[in-house]
Symmetry: C2
Subunit: 203 residues, 2 copies
DNA sequence: CTTCGCGTATGACATTTGTCATGCTGACAA
DNA sequence: TTGTCAGCATGACAAATGTCATACGCGAAG
């Protein structure tokens, strides 16, 4: 019997090791490699692509969503399962757009991980049911690319001038995008706008 | 040979199960129980106190720090190891005050968990070395109560006027406190100030 | 081919935010 | 008692932020 080969990507060493131990207790699954960030994961895959890639989203250098997109491009036969803390509709949508076959929350019982890997390996999709339901009713991201780009930086504390310089725009333009974003999100300043957008998974 | 009995407390099911799998691969350690929050953990301990309790900090209903304090009170023979994502000096201090013998970060390699449990079981203390060093050199919170109060609200997106109304101050006063905080923290606006203060555990 | 809508871009103007000089109070040491 | 020092409070002023009217190009719908 061929075991399912899984590559694990997760930036918290303790959790990475623990998940590996968990999966190795499954008779039909083997952890073929582990990585602490997306770059390392891609290097490992270049040598030997696994059948299933399990990755966290929020990681330094390269997010799991970016990784998923790149994997879909370069290793189309590898299935991707996103494993994250965050039940954000925006993340789910972007994960599916990026070609992920699975989206699982760390809140769920441990047994669901192996089961999800098996299903995805068989060609099925696996999406956390509560989140899927929420994503169905949830408002779509109303922001344009530019607005997202600017809101992101403003939310990190950059001044209008900083943002304008970095993106090669006039300050007035930057203020205008911020104003648009604030209006679209129905809030009253850039701080609330950034917080809301982040909580929805739009940034 | 007597195995070391460990009770695991962690609110994310996936991580809880994975940590249990990890520890069960150690020949001298056995996971005697698991709980998703502090209340359940105390119930389990009432029946059979483990030798070592490993707990996360941020959990619903009862934090790991509260749990540690209660365990010290009711089950003084059980050693406590805090296992958390957050490298905040303030947390470390409170953990040690609450009677924890260990403070470990989820960033660290998986092998360190078992080792920490062994050390703590032998009566030693285990504290993440980087964090201990940081806690030693770390700047103390330079903010006054008022400044904290105001920075907190500003960081949540409240306008100066909102804050002034809620705290019964004039707008000028609120701006002044914000200005003071910004200067003390060496940043250039309220957003950065709130972010920095939060990251240090001062809010 | 037009018209429309959308994303992008700008600057003038109003509002909010940040800085600074100043004053009041109470605790504590000289 | 007096000096002084920290925390709290204020308003005038300067700077950054938010709003609005406006304009241009481009692709889709008519």
């Amino acid at each position: 019997m061929m075991k399912i080969e899984v590559l694990l990507v997760e930036d918290q060493g303790m959790v990475l090791g623990a998940l590996a131990a968990l999966l190795n207790t499954e008779p039909d699954i083997t952890v073929s490699g582990t990585a602490g960030n997306g770059r390392v994961a891609l290097d490992l895959m270049a040598k030997k692509p696994p059948q299933v890639l399990v990755t966290d989203i929020e990681m330094p250098q390269m997010t799991g969503l970016e990784l998923a997109a790149e994997v879909k491009e370069r290793f189309p036969k590898t299935r991707v399962v996103i494993l994250t803390t965050f039940a954000r509709p925006g993340y789910l949508r972007r994960a599916l757009d990026a070609g992920a076959q699975g989206y699982l929350l760390k809140d769920r019982p441990a047994a669901e991980l192996a089961e999800a890997i098996r299903r995805v390996h068989r060609g099925l999709r696996v999406v956390d049911p509560d989140l899927a339901a929420e994503a169905w009713t949830a408002d779509p991201d109303p922001l344009t690319d530019r607005e997202r780009q600017i809101l992101q930086r403003a939310g990190d504390g950059m001044s209008t001038a900083d943002v304008a310089r970095e993106l090669g725009l006039s300050e007035g333009t930057v203020r205008n995008y911020l104003s648009e974003s604030i209006a679209k999100l129905g809030v009253s300043n850039r701080i609330e706008a950034a917080r809301l957008a982040r909580s929805k998974g739009w940034l």
